[in-house]
Amino acid sequence: MRKFFSSLACLLVAFLPLAAQSNPYEIDDDCYIYFQQAEASFEDFTSDEFDQNASALQLAALETGDDKALTLYYVLMLKRACAAGRQGDRGELQSANKKVEAARKTLQVVAQEKGFIQYYYYGYDLAQAYYFNTNQSSSAMALLDEMYEIAKSEQDDYGQWQALRFISRLHLEQGDALNARSYLRRGLEIFEKTKDPSLRRQSMTRMYCDMADTYSIADDSARLFYNRALQSSKVHLDTLRCVYYGALVAAYDGDQEAYRRNRDYCLEDPSFDTLYQTGDELFLCMDMILRGDAPSRELLDKLQQSKQQDYVGRLSGKKGLYEVAYYMIYKRFMQLLRNLSKVNESRLDEYTGRYDNFSLSRQLQQKDRETVRLYRLAAILLSVILLSALLFSFVHIRHLRKDRKKDEERIEALKVADAAKTRFVQNMSHEVRTPLNAIVGFSQLLTLPDGSFPQEEKDEFAEHIVNNTKMLTMLLDDILNTSAMDSGNYRISYEEGEVHFICRAAISSAEHRLQPGVQMVYEPDSEIPFTFQTDPRRVQQILINLLTNACKHTPSGTIKLTSSVREHQGRVTFAVTDTGPGIPPEQAEVIFERFTKLNEFVQGTGLGLSICRDIAGRMGAKVYLDTSYKGGGARFVFEVPVVPPTENM
């Protein structure tokens, strides 16, 4: 059995050159050249040379459309990030972690897109190795757990296998053989059951070797897995691993020849030093132990790997070198203890760092969020306030402007109305007091004892009293008419009226107001009586008003009333012409306004003409000043429709 292993190992050695492939990645040849160059210059990954090679690889991959080469470029980038992180200060670990994570994610996105799923998992591999090597084994473990879960949910055997392999190795490196073994077993189960060709292609040698490592060298299980490793070995390094293992087994079993052969094979291989550090020293120790000599403490102290320490301890125990065995076992135990505490420490560090980071970022985030919320709230509030203030002020200003304008207009109108009213009241007071003065005064004279005045004088006083009472009545009528028209109580009642009769009645009513020496005449254009439908009393009232007005303003000359049924079609036209001072044309309309008097000292309420116009309006008639009259004095025209307006019927 043992011979079989040894010969097999020899056989494999012979085939080693064949294991090397010219282009194992099966990418474009140009790309491969750049890839190789980049790999070769990776040792100094910060150099321009590496950069140039990597860029060349990327360009070539893009030009040739070789997706795999492109993916490999991103692999290199991740490798560089990992290497840089490993070299960097521990203080910059967080930023290095971020770079590694970014590179890993980029690689994984590309790998997933281009369909090279094994590189997707390779991203995890490289990253976890980085974490492991920078004493962040918990991060490495967390990453691998994630990888395993993803692969499991994707039912990707390759991914699961890889994850399990890395997890087990992580455990193994921490000296936890039992856990490592259970993960390895699961990995092997997956490998045995899988139909995934990419997994089937994988070499199980390393895994079998790892499995063997979880057992002590004397254990049969170790031999079993070593055997399997040997069987599945396809690559040069795997073979070297197996040969190394073979040497250890042979030495333990006492097969000196096989041991020497395997030992020599290992020592001659240039990769051996990098694969197994202190491998040379191990073989030196083994040689001495096999000869029965105890290796020096110095030499023994050089063996750092716990697996080697264990092996030397067991081998020396078997050869009766108990002191060495005890020393090695003690040393190994102490080292395991140290490792364990180191691992725990680093884990503690890592967790503390992560927690600090986490809580800090959480605090910051919360603060940020609060700040943002506050800002947003403040901004919203501010804009709402501003907007409403703007709106309010706009509306308010408009309102104010409108209001002010309205108010100003209203105030102006009120002022005018008030002034007119005040004038009216003052005027009224004067107007009322003047006839009243005569009435009261002459009445008092009449009450004096007989003989104070002769009878004819007394008659004269009585006449003054009567006239002034009439005047006062007219005054009151004017006011009451105005008030009635304002309140809408003024009624027009239509009946038959005769023009000449109305005119003569008006004259007889107004005659007594004539100033001394003034004539009042009636001149109809036709003596033929003309009867029409109208309100004769109102027509007469207007005529009396116009005539009275003329009397007031005519100190001398003639006041003439005319009537015509021909001057305007369908209307009876009355006109009152005087020989007074006349009225300027620009005052033609003003005089019809209430309380307007052109001459303050002429008696009157200032209501007469305004009343005339109001009444005329209600009858469909017109009263106006004839501004075209050039005869000196004034001519007022009063047109009354022959047929009353229907709305007033």
């Binding site: 007071s429 009261v440 303050e600």
Partner: protein
């Protein structure tokens, strides 16, 4: 009981000027004062009043305020300005009846104010008082 003014008293040496733009008012005043045998003249406006004063200085003026042209206030002002006429007793007879008008009249230099419609007793007693003042001054 006979009012004291009704007692016969000789005022014939006194000159009185009544001023009003309404003739009927002048007639009324004339008739009311007829029992006193004043030398009574009338003027139908401010300017006519000033002319009458210039012609012959009266002892008392019964003056209306609201008149076209030169009104009562202006007549008072001009008379008071002139030292020759400054001492004439002036009584306002006016239909203007607000407190402001009364005050304004007194401020202008009137000696008394009688509102229209004229109550005869008031006018007569006022005139008697003014005559007594004139008599007192003369002594």
């Amino acid at each position: 009981m006979t009012p004291y003014y009704a007692q016969d008293h000789d005022y014939s040496k006194y000159n009185v000027l009544a001023v009003d733009d309404i003739p009927l008012n002048l007639l009324l005043v004339q008739k009311m004062l007829s029992r006193f045998n004043f030398k009574l003249r009338t003027a139908a406006g401010g300017q006519l009043a000033l002319d009458a004063v210039a012609e012959q200085k009266p002892d008392l003026i019964l003056l209306d305020l609201m008149m076209p042209g030169i009104d009562g206030f202006e007549v008072i002002r001009r008379l008071r300005e002139n030292p020759e006429t400054a001492d004439i007793q002036i009584v306002i007879l006016s239909a203007l009846n607000s407190k402001d008008d009364v005050v304004k009249g007194f401020n202008a230099g009137a000696n008394d104010f009688i509102m229209k419609p004229i109550i005869m007793e008031k006018l007569l007693s006022c005139v008697v008082t003014q005559m007594q003042l004139v008599e007192a001054k003369a002594h």
